[in-house]
């Protein structure tokens, strides 16, 4: 298990659920929706979402990185859509480096 995969998977699961809860509550429909849901079923559904998101994130990272890596840059053989992530990683890497002009 890698930190990047773990954080991306949890981010997707929690942000997805939080956005839905925020939207439904703003429409005043959350109480009625949750009152019919068993507590353990609700917890189980979230764990299932979390788990499947982790599995799909792991698989996506393996498929989009060549060679497979969760820490190295996804450049060689990377499909369309990976470039922004690579650019972000370059920025994230340089942002904390001593040579960065902002420090």
């Amino acid at each position: 298990m890698k930190l990047v995969t773990w954080s991306l998977a949890t981010f997707h699961a929690t942000a997805f659920v939080l956005a839905i809860v925020l939207f439904v509550y703003s429409r005043d429909a959350l109480g009625a929706g949750l009152s019919g849901l068993n507590t353990f079923v609700g917890l189980g559904l979230f764990v299932a979402l979390w788990g499947t998101t982790y599995v799909t994130t792991s698989r996506a990272k393996v498929l989009t990185c060549s060679p497979p890596s969760v820490t190295g840059p996804c450049t060689r053989g990377a499909p369309r859509g990976v470039a922004p992530r690579t650019a972000w990683r370059s920025w994230a890497s340089s942002a904390l480096s001593p040579s960065s002009p902002q420090f």
Binding site: A13, V21, L43, T71, W88, A92, S93, P98
Partner: protein
């Protein structure tokens, strides 16, 4: 076997508070370590930060899961968004979503930084965890108001 719903809700609330204590306390700890004088400890701070990021995302998932459980305990009696309580809940949920979204760049930055390359980037690390601590303090204030206000 029938499980007492009140007991379940107390247990969920306890897990929610424990996860919040872990996430908030961890952010305070990393921030406190990063403001210590001397850059020779930068590698150690980064090590603690990486471990914290693992805990943070675990706590974020648990907080989202148990938070919905806490709301479900109100059932149909959950106050609407037009009330003061509801407005505060909306603000809290919005703050949590914002913190989660802004935490991803922080985690990726920490994950991409090695102990040998941190150097003066410790200042950036300090700022990131100061912002995280402040965001958690705001969310905690909302939560206390919702529970006892």
């Amino acid at each position: 076997m029938e499980v007492d719903p009140h007991l379940v809700h107390v247990a969920i609330r306890w897990v929610h508070v424990a996860a919040m204590a872990t996430a908030f306390g961890g952010a305070v700890t990393v921030f406190a370590l990063s403001i210590r004088p001397g850059t020779d400890s930068a590698g150690a701070v980064l090590g603690v930060a990486v471990r914290y990021e693992w805990l943070f995302w675990a706590a974020a998932g648990v907080l989202a899961m148990t938070g919905i459980g806490n709301l479900a305990a109100f059932g149909a009696g959950l106050l609407g968004p037009s009330t003061n309580w509801g407005t505060t809940l909306l603000l809290k949920l919005g703050s949590v979503l914002t913190l989660v979204v802004l935490s991803l760049p922080r985690t990726l930055a920490v994950a991409r930084t090695s102990a040998t390359s941190i150097g003066t980037g410790l200042i950036a690390l300090r700022n990131l965890y100061a912002a995280t601590t402040a965001a958690f303090a705001v969310i905690l204030a909302f939560a206390i108001w919702l529970a006892h206000g």
